[in-house]
Amino acid sequence: MSSSEDRAVNAFREQIDGPIASYLSSCVHCGLCAHACLFFTETEDPRYTPINKVEPLRRVWKSEYTFFGKLASMLGVAKKVTDDLLEEWEPLIYDACTLCGRCSMVCPVGNDISYMIRKTREGMVAAGYAPDGLKGATQRAVTIGSPMGVKFPALQVQIHNVERETGLTVPVDVHGADYMALLSSMEIMNFPEYIGALAKIFDKAGVSWTLCSEAFEATNSGMQIGSSDLEGELLQRVVDGAESLGVKYVISPECGHAYYALRWEGPNVLGKKYPFQVIHILELLDQLRLKGKLKVEDKVDEKLTFHDPCQIVRKGGVVEEPRSLLSLVASDFVEMEDAGVMNWCCGAGGGVSANERAQPLKLAAFKRKKSQLEALGAGTMVTACANCRINMEEGLEENNMQIEVIGLTETLADHLA
């Protein structure tokens, strides 16, 4: 066994738990999960069937965790995890899966396949089989602090711009504030409007908040590449920042996987509960709405729709909040087919956007969103994830579609009373 095979198998072993064993024991090869996955529906390539993506993990389970498989291994007839297998599966696991969780909603025997793929990535990355783009992003996140290489001075520039434009102060490193807001690099570089929107809304609503110069990045390439260790290292920075400022809440920005990493995986990879609460910006905004602290002076009249970021809605549980907020600010809000927990991914989550090799496949997968949008005929699409947003802008442009994509928080800020 080569050392990379060894590392993969060891990492897979660590990932096998009761749920994984029950899922792998249950699969009846019915193929229904294929039709839930946009990488299959838009390409019809059977290799993209979700359950097929976990083959390396399955082999370790089968040969080491089942009686019959152990017997087969003793006789030397069990299928092994080899470098060839890992190399062949790498594009299936990283390029053709956004960890969107849609397959987990349809499997008739109940397999949570996105949970299985997430775990399969642990073994892949341990053995060095991950896409170069994602490796680079993770490397930058660990060494520089952001997958896009954004450092605090760059954020400071954006803060100054925002302060000049809004006439408000953006608080930084305020000890004892209630909320510490995090950002994604994508927001800092491409959508600084988000920072201005927070300043405006929190000013009106009287929310005590701050940014933290030591911990402003929310995205987590460690989770996307599938390394709990690196994911934990990145999360620890947030925990340290929040502890040093003594905040009660940490606000996840409009970024899907950042929320999932921080809210759901974080305490588990760090092995302890947080000394603060994590809240998604949409949850906080909806709380403000319910308290009557979020009032709008006018509404968007144009027909608009909402794209559900998978990690926030289906896998994050923030389902009703964006809808309540939209009905506050939009007079003609329409839902796409399959909206809500069954919505289709934008095609670029789960590290796909950082992986150059996956770009053609990503554009193919976008056809799903395209047909959803064509059926609807809305001129504006609101979303709540900077990564979804960039990807959809790219996909729309590629397909010559005239649809504007905007962030929900900014939309609210623009119409504040």
Binding site: G31, L32, P46, T66, F67, V106, D112, K315, G317
Partner: protein, 219 residues
């Protein structure tokens, strides 16, 4: 071996061996799963686990509308043969008598002509399932030897039972013996194959429902 001896053998020692392998095997497989367990989840839950888990256990028997639209054939055939097996196994009067002898419990059966019709439907559903598996690109891609072995092992008891009841092919005693043997093969294969989903899918559904439930989504 005469047909009488054969029947005595499949009803006697062979039956005991098959049931023993089935019971011990299934118990081992379930222990393998439960012994692995789950780490306690340290994230702060948004919703409960138990109820959403139970809801998913039931709800997953019904496909979501989108999935049904995309794979109607697979789903209808799946329903037909699962329900067909359920009815023929549990509501054919001679089977109920067997359960009464072995387990000591009994329940009312369905009229034999009805069970007969169900058996025919199930057999045709099983044949259509094979055609579907061979023709559908995803199914053909996913399928391995085990899938075909399990398919055959599931079909055989239906066919042999039907033949035995209608006194077809072989003399009744021989056919009945073959029917019982085919069921024993199914029982023996059970713990080693995907037939285990009969038990483990409920565990899987619960885990899935619980994981989504604690994040506030009913899966």
């Amino acid at each position: 071996m005469t047909s009488v001896e054969f029947l005595a053998w499949v009803r006697g020692p062979m039956f005991q061996i098959a049931v023993a392998i089935f019971v011990v095997g299934v118990v081992i497989r379930l222990i393998e799963i439960f012994a692995l367990g789950r780490k306690a989840d340290l994230s702060e839950p948004r919703g409960g686990e138990t109820m959403p888990g139970i809801v998913t256990v039931f709800r997953r028997s019904i496909p979501d509308p989108g999935t049904f639209k995309r794979s109607p054939f697979t789903i209808v055939l799946g329903y037909l043969f699962h329900i067909g097996l359920f009815i023929t196994i549990l509501f054919f009067v001679p089977h109920i008598e067997l359960f009464h002898d072995v387990l000591g419990v009994q329940w009312p059966g369905l009229p034999t002509p009805l069970v007969d019709a169900v058996a025919i439907i199930s057999i045709f559903a099983m044949l259509a399932i094979l055609v579907n598996r061979l023709r559908n690109p995803v199914l053909r891609f996913l399928s391995n030897g085990e899938d075909y072995v399990v398919w055959a092992a599931t079909l055989l008891p239906l066919v042999t039972g039907y033949f035995a009841f209608h006194r077809m092919l072989f003399p009744y005693q021989t056919m009945l013996g073959l029917h019982i043997l085919s069921v024993e093969i199914l029982l023996i294969l059970f713990p080693f194959t995907k037939l285990m989903h009969f038990f483990t899918s409920f565990v899987a559904r619960w885990y899935n429902g619980a994981a989504f439930g604690r994040r506030g989504v009913q899966s």
